[in-house]
């Protein structure tokens, strides 16, 4: 496990909501997302049910709140891609990277150095389709934390893959 002391942060995330087509449904989702305190602003692509979430630079965040808000609107998360300042970080499958209270566990990732503006996709249960979740579950059978979503002494654990 690699620990970072820098104040790494998500500066934006691209969310695609599943299960909707209409603008009223998008508006319901947007209205739910607007209540999230760690988001600065949201831009919307109604045609593709896509929401670009701009994070507050210093606020602590909990990505599960985003999932919960999409579900409250009546839909589900199709994908959530994070854009972070973890550039130049070397990653590969089954490595953990901790930034403050947040730990990223990389799965299905070739050894590489993260580039600027390279997205990392959250693959925890509820952040991908059930089919995708089962695929990653097979890959990570040795890592029980993917199944439970929990890890000892870690407050916020996110399983991710590099796009």
């Amino acid at each position: 496990m690699v620990s970072l002391t820098s104040h790494a942060q998500i500066y934006k995330a691209e969310l695609i909501a599943n299960g909707l087509t209409c603008s009223m449904c998008s508006n319901a989702t947007y209205s739910q997302l607007k209540t999230i305190s760690f988001l600065d602003s949201i831009s919307t692509d109604v045609e593709h049910a896509k929401f670009v979430l701009y994070f507050h630079p210093t606020s602590p965040f909990d990505l599960r709140i985003i999932k919960s808000k999409v579900e409250d609107a009546g839909f589900s998360v199709g994908s959530l891609v994070l854009f972070t300042d973890l550039e130049n970080l070397e990653v590969e499958s089954d490595t953990h990277h901790t930034v403050g209270e947040v730990t990223y566990h990389f799965i299905d990732t070739k050894k590489q150095i993260l580039q600027k503006a390279q997205g990392i996709k959250v693959i925890d249960k509820g952040f991908v389709t059930e089919k995708e979740y089962k695929k990653y579950l097979k890959m990570s059978s040795k890592n029980s934390c993917y199944k439970t979503g929990k890890m000892e002494n870690v407050k916020y654990l996110y399983h991710v893959t590099v796009l």
């Binding site: 599943n18 299960g19 603008s23 319901a28 739910q32 049910a49 609107a73 009546g74």
Partner: protein
């Protein structure tokens, strides 16, 4: 209406020729809906889809129906104010009231409560399949003047139903099956020769016509829908089948105007006002409870 009750115990409203014409119209309409290839909606007027009102969202609705009384060709007006609230991601609650112009005066006739629980949801990119269980309890003090059982405005009773809704590549199809039981409307006793239990079934198809491409929340949406509604009495086996084409406008992704024409396709039961126009307006208030 009186004449109906005296003489019209059984009636078949459409001739065979008329039924075939309506059937052809229905088939053509459905084919058009599937072939147009544009976006769809499931915000049906006369039935609820398995999807719920979002959590913490309040919808205020005013539904007006203008139905022709077959006995004297006068207009029976009903106003149904309604409040819909999303209690959680799975549960919504609907409360409405019934007001009519029967006997040429304003009558506050009753109200109903409906709760819906969405127990299954399988979402994909621009598609979903959902199932929901729901139940309605209604009270009404109106005069019982027809064999049709209608808990949404005419009869006192309870109804339990199951809804399945499929949104598939922008086409929405929803179907419901329900069982309902009615009784006397307070001082208006339920006629002993009327069936008091029925199975009801609906099929609704919706299609978004405009806009072709979404750009923002301010665009006005125009949806076309067809709803087919049927009822069969548990005793006696009398049935009816109605069709209701609906045109729907959605403004600024918050409010909705629906205009529908409901018409009887077939009936062998006494119905005093089967055909008419429905005009509905509703407004959604998101995040009503600030945290």
């Amino acid at each position: 209406m009186l004449q109906d009750r005296k003489n019209g115990e059984r009636k078949v409203s459409l001739s065979c020729h008329g039924f075939i014409k309506m059937r052809n119209f229905l088939i053509a309409s459905l084919l058009c809906l599937f072939e147009c290839g544009v976006n769809a909606q499931e915000l049906f007027l006369l039935t609820n889809p398995a999807s719920n009102v979002p959590k913490n969202t309040l919808v205020m609705r005013g539904m007006n129906s203008f139905f022709q009384r077959t006995a004297d060709n006068t207009v029976s007006y009903h106003f149904m104010p309604e409040m819909e609230l999303g209690l959680s991601k799975r549960v919504m609650l609907i409360v409405n009231g019934f007001v009519s112009n029967e006997n040429n005066k304003v009558n506050v006739e009753g109200g109903s409560v409906l709760a819906q629980y969405r127990f299954y949801s399988n979402d994909g990119n621009k598609q979903h399949f959902r199932m929901a269980l729901w139940s309605r309890l209604s009270v009404n003090n109106a005069e019982i003047h027809q064999e049709e059982i209608e808990l949404n405005g005419h009869n006192t009773g309870g109804r339990i139903g199951l809804t399945g809704t499929q949104l598939l590549h922008k086409t929405a199809i929803s179907t419901t099956v329900s069982y309902q039981r009615t009784g006397s409307n307070f001082q208006n006793e339920f006629p002993v020769n009327y069936a008091n239990k029925s199975v009801d079934y609906t099929l609704s198809v919706g299609q978004l016509v405009l806009p072709r491409v979404y750009k923002d929340f301010k665009q006005t949406n125009i949806n076309l829908m067809i709803e087919i509604l049927g009822q069969t009495h548990m005793s006696g086996g009398k049935s009816f089948l109605d069709i209701a084409p609906v045109v729907q406008f959605i403004f600024k992704s918050k409010s909705r105007l629906d205009i529908a024409y409901r018409r009887e396709l077939y009936s062998d039961m006494l119905r005093t006002q089967p055909n008419g126009v429905i005009v509905n307006y509703q407004y959604s208030f998101f995040n009503v409870q600030k945290k």
